[in-house]
Amino acid sequence: MQTRRSFHTAIISGLGSVIGVALGIPTALYLLVTRGSKPKGSFVEAANLSQLQIGKPQEVSFERTRLDGWRTFQEKVIAWVVRTDDQHVVAYSPQCTHLGCAYHWEAQQNQFVCPCHESRFSIDGKVLGGPAARPLDRYPVRVENSKLLIGSEIRRA
């Protein structure tokens, strides 16, 4: 009688576990794993080099296509761009590295200032003060034929 009983409970827990695993694994994959490598972000033309003054941060806006889940659409993108010399440009993502507020350039203080929690960054992106823990994030850039191209993958400094 006792073996019969343990046979039955073994069936219940054994088959129950198989079903749980067979449903649980696809569920975890579905929720947590993104498939394959995302297509590398395309570079788009953002400005002519001649429009950028050396050593002066400028807000540059440009359009690019973005794939968001099942939707593809044109979106406007903003970058804080600093031309460092004749052929070199850096482009910062316009969000503070603390909690994502939009910061701006304070010409008098010669620094980027975030209005939310007063994080401050130098012209080369380093943290000067406030709660931000890392320098400003950057967009990949390329300069081709005196045009500034900006990529879409934001890189953490």
């Binding site: 019969r4 067979a22 449903l23 794993v33 099942w70 939707r71 593809t72 081709e144």
Partner: protein, 531 residues
């Protein structure tokens, strides 16, 4: 430690004794394999709830976007195709087990006094299951969903007296269906039906417990036994079997996604889901003004009859093998259902509709772009310009080339690998391609099979675009070629090239005498371009 936690929980909530009370219910000695179906049905409902919620996490419930998001689920999301298949086949297999559960109850006659209300709640659950099927059918928003639901709403409009009200409830204006109807079907499917089902399941289970599992005549002299663990183990085996079938179907049987719902697509022939095919076929017996009899009156009477079963058959309990009448009715019903379904399947025209969840980007770009990819390969550009990595030369997939066209033309004509491989016109097309390519074209550039590219090269070199439009590019002198493989047999397309007037008498298309290899390439190619 664990014991102490359980004791605390038991003391404060009584949960342990409640579970024990549930598991150690007395059931008749005769209970066994024939009573597993209710548990399987409950499990099926849970699988539908879980997979349904998971699908909803990536689904946008609005016409058009619904289709795009479902295509995203099955093509982009990890295990998304499996989730959809589990939900799709789970629905079918849930109907199967619910009906089997009902037939078992009917054959054994266990709906008799005092279990009439249990039976009625069960009929309610059957109707709810069918309502899920009807409302869920629209949610992919492909042609099958759209046209199938048009028929559903038209049938509801036939209901005597209530027709116009039903149509209004479904959010339809009586002709087309659109955003309002879609939203109402979605809300019914995910917000109205689930709590109703949960409530009815609770009532159904409560009634089963209240009256106990029905005994047979032989049980009168036998001692009772416990629900746990023997019967629970049998239920678990049945659930496992059902689940194994579901998983097998979900992994092996692809659930197609048709074309985006198109109210102007008059060539689409809608068919309902397999479990409604018998009703579809049944309707064909009723002509003209009699239609309402077949579409509404008889189905309604059938449901009422089902509800009244316990009040019609009020005799004493008998053994199953003595219930000749019940067995006869089930056999007759099975013949009626099976015959109508078989007839409907036999008269369903074969469809060549493409499965849009399998469409690759090269099938969606213009023939010119695909041919340009062919020129890129012909001129061996890829031996320096590796796609996806900058080794010997710039990676052209990163950004459209910003070189001036004259520089690019010169560069291609004088490239060291295959100078002069392309004609001037071909060079110009390649220049346009590298400066203006779309994201889909980039995918095709890297992944299009050479056979498809060869087809596009034949298409391009014969200047088909000067008369035909394909993927938005080309002239309107001849018919557009998108979906030609869905409209025409392969032999028709092949024969048509050599002798157009033979196949379409008014055609002004000149004859093209391709070599067999080219004929195969171009036929394969244009047949692969979806509508």
């Amino acid at each position: 430690m664990f014991r102490r936690l359980l004791d605390w929980l038991e003391d404060r909530t009584g949960v342990e004794s409640a579970v024990k009370h549930f598991l150690y219910e007395d059931i008749p000695q005769s209970s066994g394999w024939h009573q597993v179906f209710g548990s399987v049905a409950l499990f099926a409902f849970l699988v539908q709830a879980v997979t349904g919620i998971l699908l909803a996490l990536n689904y946008s419930p609005a016409p058009g976007e619904a289709y795009d998001s479902l295509r995203y689920i099955v093509t982009q999301v990890t295990a998304g195709r499996l989730m959809r298949a589990l939900h799709h086949w789970g629905a079918s297999l849930m109907i199967v087990v619910v009906v089997v559960h009902m037939i078992q109850t009917f054959l054994w006659g266990t709906y008799k006094k005092p279990r009439e209300a249990t039976w009625i709640a069960g009929v309610g659950l059957l109707l709810l299951t069918l309502a899920y099927g009807l409302s869920g059918y629209l949610l992919p928003w492909d042609n099958r969903a759209y046209w199938g639901t048009v028929v559903t709403t038209e049938i509801s409009a036939l209901a005597p007296g209530a027709g116009p009200l039903l149509v209004r409830l479904l959010g339809s204006d009586g002709t087309a269906i659109g955003a309002v109807t879609f939203t109402r079907f979605y809300v019914a499917h995910v917000q109205l039906l689930p709590p109703l089902t949960a409530l009815l399941i609770a009532i159904h289970l409560y009634l089963v417990r209240r009256h106990g599992v029905a005994p047979t005549l032989a049980d009168a002299l036998q001692p009772k036994k416990k629900f746990y663990p023997e019967q629970v183990a049998k239920d678990t085996v049945a659930i496992f079997g059902w689940f194994a079938v579901l998983m097998g179907m979900a992994l092996l049987a692809r659930v197609p996604l048709g074309h985006l719902a198109d109210p102007t697509d008059l060539s689409y022939i809608p068919r309902p889901e397999w479990y409604f095919l018998f009703l579809f076929q049944f309707l064909k017996w009723f002509e003209g003004p009699l239609e309402v009899v077949g579409a509404v009156i008889i189905p309604t009477l059938a449901i009422i009859a089902l509800l009244l079963v316990p009040f019609i058959d009020r005799g004493k309990m008998k053994l199953v093998r003595q219930r000749i009448g019940a067995i006869g009715l089930v056999v007759l019903g099975a013949i009626f259902w099976g015959g109508l379904t078989a007839r409907a399947v036999a008269t369903t025209p074969e469809t060549r509709e493409m499965d849009m969840s399998l469409i690759r980007p090269w099938q969606e770009i213009s023939a010119g772009n695909l041919a340009s990819i062919g020129y890129f390969r012909q001129a061996q550009c890829g031996s320096c310009h590796r796609l996806g990595s900058a080794v010997a030369a710039p990676d052209l997939t990163i950004a459209p080339s910003s070189r001036p066209a004259s520089w690019l033309e010169e560069h291609i004509k004088t490239n060291p690998k295959a100078p002069g491989a392309l004609t001037d016109a071909q060079v110009q097309m390649l220049v346009t391609f590298v400066t203006k390519r779309s994201d889909k074209a980039v995918d095709a550039w890297q992944n299009a099979p050479q056979s498809a590219v060869d087809g596009a090269l034949v298409y391009q070199s014969n200047d088909c675009a000067s008369c035909h439009k394909l993927n938005g590019v080309g002239d309107d002198l001849g018919p557009p070629l998108n979906g030609v493989g869905e409209r025409r047999e392969r032999s028709w397309i092949e024969g048509h090239f050599a002798d157009p007037p033979k196949y379409s008498p008014d055609s002004i298309m000149p004859a093209f005498h391709f070599k067999p290899e080219q004929l195969k390439q171009i036929t394969d190619y244009i047949s692969a371009i979806p509508k």
